[in-house]
Assembly symmetry: C2
Homo-oligomer: 372 residues x 2
Amino acid sequence: MKGFGFEILHICAQSGARLGRLHTPHGDIDTPCYMPVGTQATVKAMRPDELAVTGTQICLANTYHLFERPGHGLVREAGGLHEFMRWDKPILTDSGGFQVFSLAVANKIREDGVEFRSLLDGKKHFFTPESVMEIEEALGADIAMAFDECAPWPSEESYARAAMNRTHRWAERCKKAHTREDQALFGIVQGGTYRVLRVESAKALADMDFPGYGIGGLSVGEPKPLMYEMLEELMPHMPKEKPRYLMGVGSPDCLVEGALRGVDMFDCVLQTRIARNGLALTSFGKRMLRNASFERDFSPIEEGCDCYACKNGFTRAYIRHLVKCREILAAQLITAHNIRFSQRLMEGVRKAIREDRLTDFARECADKGMFD
Amino acid sequence: MKGFGFEILHICAQSGARLGRLHTPHGDIDTPCYMPVGTQATVKAMRPDELAVTGTQICLANTYHLFERPGHGLVREAGGLHEFMRWDKPILTDSGGFQVFSLAVANKIREDGVEFRSLLDGKKHFFTPESVMEIEEALGADIAMAFDECAPWPSEESYARAAMNRTHRWAERCKKAHTREDQALFGIVQGGTYRVLRVESAKALADMDFPGYGIGGLSVGEPKPLMYEMLEELMPHMPKEKPRYLMGVGSPDCLVEGALRGVDMFDCVLQTRIARNGLALTSFGKRMLRNASFERDFSPIEEGCDCYACKNGFTRAYIRHLVKCREILAAQLITAHNIRFSQRLMEGVRKAIREDRLTDFARECADKGMFD
């Protein structure tokens, strides 16, 4: 693998959390990191230069969505995702597993792959570990995820085990099929909410020696304490020297709680999705800017924030007006704020790890009301 | 009036078109100019810094819409429109006349003013020349327009005359009611598509000695040649030393044809509205980027264009993908392009005036297919 590597720079003496640096062909990423999601090859309402200003060092794109539209062949012709979406920093693509199992309809899961119907036009498609590798290689992200089976929550243990075992077999097949030297392939740990399975999965994947690991099938509806418990169970069995990516997780509390438990990477659509509904993240909790209480509030979303909106004097009153009028600028401003807020939070997490005080930092965040 | 003035720098020997500079408290404007429209105190899909990069020196805001939402009192409390929308260059507000007569329902037009029902909640409101001046002063634009009656097309001559005469009486009342020293009040010429009325209106307004003049009631459905004829009729009767603003007009052909006939200022929602439908302006005509023909077209919207999208390598194929996916970034990129295209066109118009060849320039644009 060219240009890829992971360094652990420091372990927080208070919590065991990891400060690291991930090297990829398109640049370095300070970890723990939050990755905004560019589902359809665009982080919604953000120009690439605006996204870079938020401190974002890597973003996600969704394999399933891009397979459907515009098609991975077209992205390959365009020169790959970086060229297509004009983002020259690192990109990670998921495997489409989650979407195929959760969004698409009428799945038939077989040993060789999954049949599903397109969300767009109802057409039948068949994904196999090999075909997904072909798609992800065509997209050309720096990091590709193995094709996995994500069991829903709750699942019976027998089903969770079957899905996990298939995920392991598919991981082996992905590894064999994957050829790009400039792309790192991450395996995915599954196992539902069953401790034994999680440990078994962590070990099985570790044996396959991937350059990094996703933790999938969490934050799919189960209570947060259960997710944290699973992380605690499986982490001792994950290879220490490899990056650990908690997939689809990234509310402010989960970012901090995940880092405390040794997670290095996160992604979440929350930041961008709630922005389009007028909801802003702040150090003192979420603020619904649509609310009448902000009608004549001429202060920024969050005092002291250095995002484009807060730094340039856009007031809650103005943004509320934009939200009420359904103006696109509302989404632009709040998205920029929410992503910058999350990147600032991760900067705080990394600083706290360096200073061996991440547990204290987490409590301080909670005390301020950030997680409410 | 503080900080306001208009200089004519050159008259095109070939066409009689005017090159000028308009001074306002928030900066100078090179004329002829195109003003993008920020109906609800935002030019749709554009951050103010992005708008400035297009070369825009002045933008519009709509009095009627801002009266409805968020209310002019709130904008005044915010410190005025510039402060509210974070645009520190010149702003012009229309008078709401056009909206009240065209959008709002169940008007009762009386000598003292107009009763109308809100588009938002159906509530009755009453606009008078005096109340509109109060609203526009609260909004605090650099240039305010007098409250006028805009007759629809077609109108009987008798109705067009009555509306014109009322517009003149209301212009006098606006002038009396207007007090802000840092805001220029422009009168509006009406008269429908009747030559005699247009000439009469131009003369009557000229006698009132406004610092600038709108030309209203054109581009409301009548054929373009009829609009051009009206401009030719009335221009000799407009004060030469005052700026002339053709209201609501601004497709590429009308920008050039209007300048040829002595217009100094234009505004139009076309650029921003069609952008949100995927339609891009280019030197070779409009391009519907949604079309299948652009699916694998990896060239920019327009070769050589220096807008954010074209300059930074965003391809037609990518933008088509965004349009098809209804991604906000499509509106951001095409809006930036369409506005920059129009500002480049005006730069070309001003250069051609300076070089005494605007008539040639207009023909060159038409020959390229720009007006198709």
